[in-house]
């Protein structure tokens, strides 16, 4: 499976290395040898591994001491699926020229493909020591560690890979897998230690919340709280689940309890304040939001609810100030868009026509941009689905109208 995943990637890397070696040694070749070598490179480029193997073998007949020739032969054999022979050729290249760029990487990869995980590991560790800035070496080391079920070591290697090449989808995929395995191992160990611990219920609650099962999440968080009444965060999570389920008073109670447990929890203060403003209790919501912002001024979204609260309290100028701050790019896009709308309505109600028009224009522009993005996303999804085999979408019982 990994071969499939990496097929394209591996071919690209092979071509890149072959071309690199071609440039390094091409000038040094005599006429016939040079021809075979270039023919082999061309064959690799064209994806004709069999021809490449033949050409490099011919080349090595003429230049039997060429490390580059054995390296390229190893790559060609690897592409042709002759892994044992590939490994032999790569080892020969390494013995002829220790430290030849890329040899250990491919020796590790081919060893991994042959399921010789320990050897692959040693080659790739060596490769990463030689080439610590090469993301590919770290990625393959991580892949090998995953195969060895060493999730921690895999995560460490893949974290380094992603730091070097943060846009590589393969690296991101395997890094995610490594961390997923760590989580699974951790949760399994936790469950074995004490299946009734608050942490187990908390994890269950989190999974239910993520899967949009708010009622189940509420029950889990309540059990977690019963097991550990003063554990920070549990009441906040309960509050989130209750709010999501539309149980506003229960959410209010849970957030209030969280704040009792931890008076400096700015996020919970923000949530309780915004909940109360939403529930038309601006008088008690606004001070909570102010406390939240005093503790953590980066919670930009609090300004949106402060704006709504101040409107309800008739403090329009303060509301304008907060809505303006809520349009800050740090805030959630949805609340930023909504803040422009609130500003437009507020200015309009205050008969500040020009400012109302400007705010409305900003709102319409942002909303249109977001709607267009969503439309593009839908269309892209549609295009992808259109590429799938077409299924009958009209129920068989239907009569054409």
């Amino acid at each position: 499976m990994l071969t499939d995943v990496f097929g394209h990637w591996l071919r690209s890397l092979t071509i890149a290395l072959v071309l690199q070696l071609c440039c390094q040694i091409g000038i040094a070749q005599d006429g016939d040898a040079k021809t075979w070598f270039e023919q082999g490179n061309d064959a690799i480029r064209k994806g004709d591994a069999t021809a490449a193997v033949r050409d490099f073998q011919e080349f090595l007949q003429l230049r039997p001491e060429s490390a580059e020739g054995y390296f390229n032969l190893g790559l060609a054999l690897q592409s042709a699926g002759q892994l044992e022979d590939s490994l032999t050729a790569l080892h020969k290249a390494a013995s002829l020229q220790p430290g030849l760029h890329g040899v250990q990487l491919f020796t590790g990869i081919v060893s991994y493909k042959l399921n010789r995980l320990s050897a692959a590991h040693d080659e790739l560790v060596s490769e990463t020591r030689l080439e610590p800035r090469n993301a590919a070496g770290w990625m393959w080391l991580g892949v090998v560690e995953l195969a060895r079920e060493h999730a921690d070591a895999a995560a460490a290697a893949l974290d380094k890979a992603v730091a070097l090449d943060p846009t590589n989808l393969d690296i991101l995929y395997h890094r995610g897998r490594a961390h997923l395995l760590i989580s699974k191992e951790s949760y399994s160990a936790m469950f074995k230690l004490n299946p009734d611990s608050s942490r187990v219920y908390e994890v269950l609650g989190q999974s239910d919340a993520e899967a949009y099962r708010p009622d189940e999440a509420i029950a889990d968080f309540q059990l977690a709280i019963r097991a550990a009444p003063h554990q920070p965060g549990l009441n906040e999570e309960l509050g989130d689940a209750c709010w999501t389920a539309g149980k506003f008073q229960e959410a209010d109670d849970a957030y209030a309890q969280e704040i009792k447990n931890d008076a400096s929890n700015a996020v919970t203060l923000y949530k309780l304040g915004s909940l109360r403003v939403t529930r038309s209790d601006a008088a008690s919501g606004v001070p909570l939001l102010e406390r939240a912002l005093a503790l953590d001024p980066t919670i930009s979204d609090a300004h949106y609810y402060l704006g709504k609260g101040e409107v309800a309290l008739g403090k329009n100028e303060l509301a304008i100030e907060h809505f303006r701050q809520a349009t800050n790019p740090r805030g959630t896009e949805q609340l930023r868009i909504m803040s422009w709308y609130q500003l437009a309505i507020l200015y309009r109600n205050l008969h500040r026509t020009q400012e109302a028009g400007e705010a409305l224009a900003a709102f319409v522009k942002m909303k249109a941009a977001r709607d267009q993005r969503q439309q593009n996303k839908f269309e892209e999804q549609g295009r992808r689905r259109d590429q799938l085999p077409r299924q009958e979408t009209i129920p068989a019982t239907a009569d054409p109208p």
């Binding site: 539309g246 319409v364 259109d386």
Partner: protein
């Protein structure tokens, strides 16, 4: 439990979502309002938690109580309305054409002083192809004894097209109400022949169109004393090539609700144009929609429509409830033109700046401050929106503040209207509901295809209270409701409601509220410079220091048309201090009422010209 944990772990559920900065669990932050995640053709709200009653029925088809106030009884059967039923396509509603249902119009077509009922019908595909007899619309003549007789065939108003809306107006000022019926296909303008029959003159009048029309409303926008006609368009829809999920024209997201395949649309389908027809005064109309900028250039999906004076300048403005797209509010500039104030007014979107799947429009002064407030019905997972009017046309979403938002979220609202059901002098609010997707009955989403109506009692200080659905009463009638029209069907001073249900018989919510409050109703007749039926007139009635407002409106609710008579509840007050009528001509007339608990006829410039006094001696209504 280990199995559960193991299953979650192996499914990767625990770690699939990145941790948000503001939630520990990784679940969506509840303080950030959800964008549309239902990704349905109609839904624009987020996904809300399921709500069930004690018997695990969805709250939309349950939540009943055994005791409580009996306000409405479903008297459809006793009244003879169940001899007819609505029909549209097939019951599984695979196409949006079949799902939108139809409206109701209340009109006194024979001028006998009693309201009759017009029920719009859909049709079937076989009928469209000429292979079957089409379902007929119904015209229920009021027998004055609590029963009705369907006279549609004799009257010539069966329509026999795929009907959606109906609106009443005396467009030719001859003193007899005419009827405009919107269809998928050509619309009908039924001219009243004064003898119990009608003649379709739509083609001759130039208002037939031929696309998919929905809400219609009459209003004299240019003050020439003749009623003009606005017709909302819904979708550009080809019944021969209906939208199918996964086709080139329809991306999948427009054919799903909460991930379940449902009929496609309206999102993903091009919107139909709207039309404003100027009344030429000779029985013909001229389409002026593009010239006046009200043709729906954005191709929104028009449903409910209403001419109503939103900014209190005496000129009818135009509001259009748009499905899944922003609403329109066109302000009448008083010179025969309109200005699009949809966004600036606050009516286009809800208070969060989000468009909704708007269906019906209710207009009324629920605070008795002289301002015309507006209410729109919306889809499930979204609240129904109360727009408070500051009197200048600025509208603010106060749905949460007034207590309407939360109870309405699971419901799909269609018809709506203000009515003072207990005659206490404060306008209450009623929604009729029903989902568009039959598929919801297979899911535990806390909503249902057939739903109950919602009645909100006005508590008189800017708050509404949801009235309980008492078992066996009209508020516990679970139907797939669409159009609803409000009026005093039995001339007893109590407002009743007629509901048109998809593929079902109608519901007649007969008002049996046991109050003994006083009331008065005014039937207005315009003078030579006003429309004869006084559409566009505003009445201010002052009693015991409280000033109420009532307007004569043509259209509104969901594709429906209400009683033109202006109704006022008076509470325990038996005398009216003052009545002020603002006629469409601009004339303002002051009146004194010598008696209440009756229906009075007022002619412009002549005062009270008739007191039928049908209930003299009976005292209060009941």
């Amino acid at each position: 439990m280990q199995e559960v944990l193991g299953a979650m772990l192996s499914a990767g559920v625990l770690l699939t979502a990145p941790l948000s900065a503001q939630t520990r669990s990784g679940a969506p932050d509840p303080s950030v309002p959800q964008e549309s995640t239902a990704h349905a053709g109609m839904a624009t709200g987020g996904v809300h938690p399921a709500e069930f009653d004690r018997e695990h029925r969805p709250i939309t088809a349950g939540g009943f109580v055994t005791t409580g106030p009996v306000i409405f009884l479903n008297a459809a059967k006793e009244a003879g309305l169940t001899t007819w039923h609505h029909e549209a396509g097939a019951p599984d509603k695979r196409f949006i054409l079949e799902a939108n249902g139809a409206g109701v119009a209340l009109l006194d077509y024979d001028n006998d002083g009693w309201l009759d009922i017009y029920m719009v019908n859909g049709t079937t595909y076989d009928a469209l192809d000429g292979k079957a007899t089409p379902p007929h619309a119904a015209l229920f003549h009021n027998n004055h004894d609590g029963t009705f007789t369907n006279v549609a065939a004799q009257a010539g108003v069966t329509n026999d097209r795929w009907g959606y809306g109906a609106v009443v107006a005396d467009y030719d000022n001859d003193g007899w109400p005419d009827l405009y019926v919107t269809n998928y296909g050509k619309n009908r303008l039924y001219h009243n022949n004064h003898d119990g029959t009608f003649t379709d003159v739509a083609e001759k009048a130039g208002v037939a169109l031929g696309s998919w029309s929905t809400g219609a409303t009459f209003g004299d926008y240019d003050g020439d004393g003749r009623l003009d006609l606005f017709v909302a368009g819904y979708l550009e829809y080809d019944v021969r090539q209906p939208p199918v999920s996964g086709s080139k024209a329809m991306h999948y997201s427009s054919c799903q609700f909460r991930g379940v395949p449902v009929m496609c649309g309206p999102q993903g389908i091009r919107g139909e144009l709207d039309h404003l027809f100027h009344n030429n005064g000779d029985g013909t109309f001229t389409d002026v929609s593009e010239k006046l900028g009200v043709s729906n250039p954005h191709r929104y999906y028009g449903l409910g429509a209403l001419f109503v004076d939103v900014n209190n300048d005496g000129k009818p403005d135009l509001v259009v409830a748009d499905d899944s797209t922003p609403n329109y509010l066109y302000i009448n500039k008083g010179n025969g033109t309109f200005e699009d104030q949809s966004y600036a007014s606050g009516f286009a979107l809800n208070g969060d700046g989000r468009e909704m799947a708007n269906m019906g429009i209710a207009a009324g002064d629920y605070q008795n401050n002289g301002h015309m407030d507006l209410v729109t019905t919306t889809f499930s997972d979204d609240y129904k929106v109360v727009f408070e009017n500051d009197g200048t046309g600025n509208l603010n979403d106060v749905s949460y503040k007034v207590g309407v938002a939360i109870p309405t979220i699971p419901f799909v609202g269609f018809g709506d209207g203000f009515l003072d059901f207990d005659n206490d002098g404060w306008k209450d609010l009623l929604f009729v509901d029903g989902h568009t997707y039959p598929e919801v009955d297979k899911e535990a989403w806390g909503t249902s295809y057939a739903q109950r109506p919602l009645l909100f009692h006005n508590l008189q200080h800017g708050k509404f209270e949801l009235m309980p659905a008492v078992e066996g009463t009209g508020l516990a009638a679970v139907t797939v409701a669409r159009g609803a029209a409000f009026g005093d069907l039995f001339n007893n001073g109590k407002i009743d409601v007629v509901i048109n249900n998809v593929d079902q018989v109608p519901v007649l919510l007969r008002n049996v509220n046991p109050d003994h409050h006083h009331w008065v109703e005014l039937k207005l007749i315009g003078g030579s410079k006003s429309p004869r039926d006084a559409v566009g007139a505003t009445v201010y009635l002052t009693a015991s220091g409280m000033r109420q407002r009532g307007d004569v409106l043509s259209g509104g609710s969901y594709l429906s048309s209400n009683d033109f008579r202006v109704h006022f509840g008076l509470g325990d007050v038996a005398t009216v201090d003052h009545v002020e009528i603002h006629w469409p001509s601009g004339a303002v007339e002051q009146l004194k009422l010598s008696a209440v608990d009756r229906i009075l006829i007022v002619e412009e410039g002549k005062g009270i010209t008739e007191d039928p006094c049908r209930h003299c001696g009976q005292g209060r209504a009941n």
